[in-house]
Amino acid sequence: MYRVEQNIFFRSPDVILFCLSMPLVVFLLIAMIAGGKDAADSGLTYLQSSYVALSTVGICCSAFMSIPITIVELRSQGILRRMYCSPCSPARLLFCDTLCSGVMSACSTLILTIAAVVFFGYRMQGNVLVYIALWLLTMISMFSIGLMVASLCRTTKSMNVATSLLYFPMLLFSGATIPSEVFPATLRAVAEWMPLGMGIRLLKSVSMGCYDHMVMPVAALTAMAVVCGAMAVKTFRWE
């Protein structure tokens, strides 16, 4: 079943466009324009900073576009209802789809990593395993927000509004696409409090090999994952 869902997933062009190519294109642009320059006072070059930030774009796309859209569509088309009439729980279908989104985000990051390492000689100063762990944490908490949106929205319309409200600000202002170092101070403060911004900041400091001040954001992301995940399960409806 997972295999089939994955196939279907790869067949939709918007996923390829947003999730896989966009981060890469933005990364190439930033790297070519300003790759070697220092990004403000962060101690990172633009290349380093944007690699980290863009590695979360896949997560953002999956969490606020793919997941809610797929689930709400499955519900409005009666597929979840039909799945309910089988010995298996529709939860399995949802799990498969969420897993697909996870794999997709991972692919997106992988492609980016290859590009960064091969073409721009990027090397991470911090521990790669810690980076991956935090990346996964960021993904889980973003996904739980996405799942909560899917549970709360009754119609495709309201879901579209909700996801756009979440997706575009997060994508643009949390520093995922546009490096937050170029933002004015106030906007940067806002970005730091966005869930995705928190994740990006964490990842950035780890990529520099700096492990201070990590408890708060990690706790916040974990709490978010738990709360939103619980909300998603609690308010979920088949129809």
Binding site: V4, I8, L74, I79, R81, Y84, C85, S86, P87
Partner: protein, 241 residues
């Protein structure tokens, strides 16, 4: 083995004060084709939802093979195949993928290439479900309903919206299934369909039972010459009361 396949007792369901299913009782015996007949909006689909446990009844009860579908979902649906009205498929899914996906839901699924062949869909295995014609899609939904190797299938308005040829084709497959001993519960508003396929029928109007029995019994009770006239007669009589 006298346990009825489906037992519905005093089933009642209201939506915002309107009684959609009203004190409905009937039984479906093993191996028979049973039709629930009525106008659009008479409560046919709601009755199916209630039997399948998709909705909870306000009063009364329904059971399949003596089990409550909402409570023992796993056991019930290993033995029950379902085709729901207006079920769509994921965009970009092929016929074969749909089969694999639905087959993965069951513990001991039927071999799907065989079913596709039986229904004349094997040439379309690689086509997208969205590109199928209405008749082909309905046949596919029957295939998916049969994938779990069920003892009973629920078919909700299977032939609505199909042209005459496609409808006849679906009838033919249903007759084959009946010969194989499958119990079939169907809803329709085509009387000639009920007459051609069904052993017994139950006519409902505004969620209430108007008539029940074998097709001949229903016709005889109304004093008309065919089921369509009987149906109109029974519906009209109810209105005069």
């Amino acid at each position: 083995m006298n346990e009825p396949a489906v037992m519905v007792q005093n089933l009642t369901k209201s939506f915002s004060g309107r009684r959609v299913v009203d004190g409905l009782s009937f039984q479906v015996q093993k191996g028979e084709v049973f039709a629930l007949l009525g106008h659009n909006g008479a409560g046919k689909s709601t009755t199916i939802d209630l039997i399948l446990g998709l909705k909870a009844p306000d009063e009364g009860s329904a059971s399949i093979w003596g089990m409550d579908a909402a409570r023992s979902r796993k056991q019930v649906f290993e033995r029950v195949g379902v085709q729901l009205q207006n079920t769509q498929y994921q965009p970009n899914i092929t016929v074969e993928e749909a089969c694999i996906e639905y087959a993965s839901l069951y513990a001991a699924p039927e071999n799907y290439p065989r079913l596709l062949k039986q229904f004349g869909l094997d040439a379309l295995k690689k086509s997208f479900v969205s590109k199928l014609s209405g008749g082909e899609r309905q046949k596919l939904s029957v295939v998916l309903a049969l994938l779990g190797n069920p003892d009973i299938v629920f078919l909700d308005e299977l032939t609505t919206g199909l042209d005459v040829v496609a409808r006849r084709e679906v009838w033919r497959t249903l007759k084959q299934l009946k010969e194989q001993g499958l119990t079939i519960f169907l809803t329709t508003h085509y009387m000639e369909e009920a007459e051609a396929l069904c052993d017994r029928a139950c006519i409902i109007k505004s969620g209430k039972k108007v008539a029940e029995g074998t097709v001949n019994e229903v016709i005889a009770a109304s004093g008309q010459k065919n089921l369509e006239d009987a149906y109109l007669y029974l519906m009209g009589e109810e209105e005069l009361l």
